[in-house]
Amino acid sequence: MDEEPERAKRWEGGYERTWEVLKEDESGSLKATVEEILFQSKRKRVIESHEQVRLGMMRHLYVVIDCSRSMEDQDLKPNRLTSTLKLMEAFVDEYFDQNPISQVCLHRNPKKHIAALKKAVDTVCVGEPSLYNSLNQALQSLKHMPGHTSREILIILSSLTTCDPANIYELIKTLKSLKVRVSVIGLSAEVRVCTVLTRETGGLYHVILDESHFKELLMMHVKPPPASSSSECSLIRMGFPQHTVAALTDQDAKPSFSMSHLDSSSGPGLSLGGYFCPQCHAKYTELPVECKVCGLTLVSAPHLARSFHHLFPLQAFVESPLEELQGDRYCQACQGELKDKSIFTCTSCHSVFCVECDVFIHDTLHCCPCCIHSQVTPL
C-alpha cells in the first residue's frame, strides 16, 4: 500500500478531534509530543514471538470478507470495502511469501486472488451478513482437509449484526470439534458472538483502530498459528522440480501450455520453460503448486526455507536509551547516526541498530546481519 489512499474531502470525512492527541510540554512546545508520536508509529512492534512451539506450517486459510451494507461506511478511506480489499492484496502477497506451502481458500495462486479482489471493488454492498452461512460454507470445504494441516478461517467483519438461519452456538461447537480456528477482525466494535466464537475455537479477535492498525492486524495472520498438540503429524511427499527451459537442451522444442493455465483463459498460454513435476512431468510455470495430474505438492527449496523463520524467530532486540550507549553512535546496519532516544541491541552479537533497521531486520531479514557477518564461514 504505497500510494496514499484517496482522501475524501475534509468536510465529507468524519468528525475528528485531531488536537486532542497533542499535549504541550512544560515550555508549551508541541515538539516533544510530535516526536513521540512519530517514534511510536515507527516502532509498531513485531508481535511477541513465541519460542519453541510447534507451528502449523501447512495452512488452509479461508478469508471471509463481509460485504454487507456497513462496508460502505467511509470511516476508512475511501470506504471500508475498498480499503479492505487493498489491504487484502497486500495480505495475500505477504501470506504466500511467508507461507509458500499454504493455501488461501484452497488455492495456491496469489495472482488469481489479487485479480478476484480487484474485481470485487465494484461490488455494491447491500443487506445484512450472516456469520452462520459464511462459516458453514467455509466449513464444508475445510472439513475435508487432512489432519496435519491447519484449518483456519479469517473473517473480516464490518457489520455489528448477523442474520442467522440457525443457532450459531451449535455451529461453534461443530467448528470446535473439527479443530477449525476462526479469527475475526472487526472493523467497528467488539461483538459478543465473535468473542465467543474466537475464544471457543482458539482464534484471535481484534478490532481495528485505524487503517494502519488494520494492516498490522492483518499481517498478524500471516504468521502461522501454533499447532495444537493434538493435530497429527505426518510425512508429506513433496516434489522439488527444477526450472528447465526446454530450448536449451532441445532445438526442436515447442512452446507448451502450463497445466496451471488450463482452467483459466487469461494469461500467456504458451511458454518454453517451466517446472516439470518429477512424478508425471506435467509442466507448471509457477511454484508452489499442487500437481493437477498426480496431486503431488510442488515447491522449491527456498520456499521451504522461507517457512523456516517462523520456527526459529530472531530474538527481539533489547531497547535501551541512547544515553547509555558508549562508543560510536552509529547504526551497525545503515551506518546512519543514532538520533532517536532509544537504540536496539542484538542479544547475541551486541550490535546496535536504529529503529528503522530494527524493524527491517525483524520484519524482512529475519536474521541479524552482524551475527551472520561475524560467523566464520567454513568454506
Partner: protein, 774 residues
Amino acid sequence: MKLNIEGLLVYFPYDYIYPEQYSYMLELKRTLDAKGHGVLEMPSGTGKTISLLSLIIAYQRAFPLEVTKLIYCSRTVPEIEKVIEELRKLMEFYSKETGESNNFLALALSSRKNLCIHPEVSSLRFGKEVDGKCHSLTASYIRAQRHSNPNLPVCRFYEEFDAVGRQVPLPPGVYNLDDLKDFGRRKGWCPYYLARYSILHANIVVYSYHYLLDPKIADLVSKELAKKSVVVFDEAHNIDNVCIDSMSVNITRRTLDRCQNNVDTLQNTIHKIKETDAAKLREEYRRLVEGLKEANVARETDIYLANPVLPDEILQEAVPGTIRTAEHFVGFLRRFLEYLKSRLRVQHVVQESAPQFLKDIFDKVCIDRKPLRFCAERLQSLLRTLEIADIADFSAVTLISNFATLVSTYSQGFTIIIEPFEDRTPTIANPVLHFSCMDPSIAIKPVFQRFQSVIITSGTLSPLDIYPRILDFRPVTMASFTMTLARTCLCPLIVGRGNDQVALSSKFETREDFAVIRNYGNLLLEMSAIVPDGIVAFFTSYVYMENIVASWYEQGILENIQRNKLIFIETQDAAETSMALEKYQEACENGRGAILLSVARGKVSEGIDFVHHFGRAVIMFGVPYVYTQSRILKARLEYLRDQFQIRENDFLTFDAMRHAAQCVGRAIRGKTDYGLMIFADKRYARADKRGKLPRWIQEHINDGSLNLTVDEAVQLAKHFLRQMAQPFRQVRSTPATKGTEQVSTFVVWKGRWRHGYRCLNLAFQSQQLNNFVA
C-alpha cells in the same frame, strides 16, 4: 488479605483492594465509632457489599458489646442472595485465616412464598395466597381448635418447629433461602418461622426494606431486634419513596365494595359466635378495657421497635367505649364505610388536610377522632377473637382501618386527595381517594431512633445532602467515592442538538415537535449502526414512548433501525416485559443485536443489570421528570418547601437526575465492563443538572462532550468502542483518590491486571503511587 483500618483488623477475602474500597471502609468505621448514621455513595461494581460486610463483621468481632447485630436491607431476592454469597466467602476466609470455626450466624429472610416447604402451600403462585393458606394452617386458634377436632388440616413443619425448634438455636453458619429450606426439610421444621425466630439471635440478618420500613410488617418481624444493631440500606436511592408508599393508602370503589363484604362477614360471624360462645366476646371486652398496657410496657423497656401506625399516646389509653363491643365496632365500621362512599361520589377534585377530613366526618356521621385512632388495633383484636382463618380475605377492611388510624393520628405530613377520574381518561368515572404521605421521615423515624447506626448507601445518591434533609436525620458521615479505573470504561456524552442544529429536549413545549422526534430517531438509528450487541434506551414515560415510537413508525425510522438491530419494548405488563427482556438478551447473545425501549422509573430501570454485551450503550431520551401535574406530587412539593425549605425545582431536578443516573448506571456493572452513556437532552449540559449526577459519572464528562450533535456523538462513540475493544491488559490502575491522602496505613494491594504484589502507601501522593511498584 488483612487490613489495618485505623487500628481495626479487617479480614478481606480478596487479594486486592481498590483504593475506594479502603476509603469506604474508613468512613464506615468512623460512622460506627461515632455511633451515628451515614450516607455513602459508591458506584456499583466496585465491591461495595464486600467492603461493608468485612468492615462491619470485623467491628462486631472487635467490639462485640458495641455492635451486636448487622441488619442488611436490600431490595430484591436476587440481591439478598448475592449478599449472602459474599458473606459466605468472607466467613470461609475467616475460618481459613484464623483456623477456628467462628460462631457467626447469618441468614436471609424473605416472604413465606420464598421459604415455604409445605407441599401444597408452596405450590401456590401468589404471595398473598401463600400467606393466607399458611395462616389458615398455623394460626393459634386454628391449632387450638385442632385439639378438639384432630381432623383439621395441619402443617406438620410448623408443628414440629413449634414443638422443638425454639429450644435448639440454629447452628452457626451462613444460610441463604435455599439453605434454610434444606435445613427445614432435614429437620422437618418450617423454614419461615425458623428464620423469623432466628433473626432475634443472629449476628447478621439480610432481608428486604419492607421488614423494617413498612409498619405493618415491621411490627410482626422486626420489632424485637436489638438496639445495638447496625442497619444498612443498600441501593437506597429510592428509600424516600419506599417510606412514602408504606404509609400511603389508596381507596377505590372496589376497595369499598370488598370492604362492605368483609364487614358483612364479620357481622355474621359475630352473630354465630354470640349464639355459641358468648364468653369469648366478653373476654375480649375485658381485655380491651385493660387496654394496650402490655405493649406500652414493652416499648418503655425499649424492647420493641416503635410502630409509626401505633403512636405512643394510644398506648396510654384504653380502647374507647364506643367500639369495645364487637357489634358496636362493626356498626362503627359501617358508618365509616358509608361516609367514605359518600366522599367518593364527587364530581370534582377535592384536596384536604387530615384535620379537615376529621372535622367533616364528625359533622356528617358523628365519628370522633379517638375511636378512629383505635380502629386498626380494634380490628386486629376482633379478627383474633373471631378466629378467622384466612386473613388475606380481609385485606380491604384492614386497609380501611389502617387508613382510619393514620388519618386520625397524623395531622401533619399527610394529605387527602379525592379524584373523580384519572387525568388521562376524564370521561370514565373512577373515583380514587389518595391518602398520601408526604413526609418520608415518618416511616423511617423509628428506625433512626432505635438503632445506633443506620447506613444509607447506593451507587447513585448524589447530591448527598438532600437525603438527610428529606429523611430528617443528622448523619455523622457523608461521602461519595469514585471508581478508580484502569481504563476509562465509561463514556458519558450529552447530545444537545440534532444534525440540523435543532435543540433536543423532552420538555413539555417540544414534546410534539416533529423535528425533535425525528432527531431522536436519527440518534437511535445512527447508534444502532455503530454500537455492537445491546442498546437500552430510556424514555421519560410510557405515554411519551408510545407517541415517539408511533411517530418513528410513520416516518420509517423503525424499519431502518430494524435492519441493524431488533427492537423490544417494555410495557406495563410484567409478564410481557420479562418475555421481551429474555428475547432481548437472546438477540444480544447470538449477535443479531437488539434495542430495548424502556421507561425511566420502570422495572427495567431499577432492577435489571445490563452487564457487558447486554448494554453497550444506554440512551436517555429526555430528562425523566416526574409527572408534575399530579396532585399528589404538588402536595408533596409544597410540603417539602414548607417543612424542609427545599425548593420545588431543586427536588424535581434531584429526583429526575437520580433516575437518570440509575438508568445510565445500568450499563456499567463492574470495572471490566464498558459502555456508552448518552444523555439526549440539551438540558443535561446545564450545571445544575450535571452537578447532580454521581461523582463517578461527572468526572468523565469533559467540556468537549457537553453539547454534541448526533454526528459528533457518533464519531466519539465509534472511537470509544474501538478503544474499548482492544485487548485489556493494562498494568497500572489509576491512583488512589484524594480521600485517602490523609491515611497513613500500609495496605498490601495486588494489581488486578498483573500477578505481582505491590505495596501501596495510601498516604503517598498520587504520582508516587505509580512508581511504587515492589
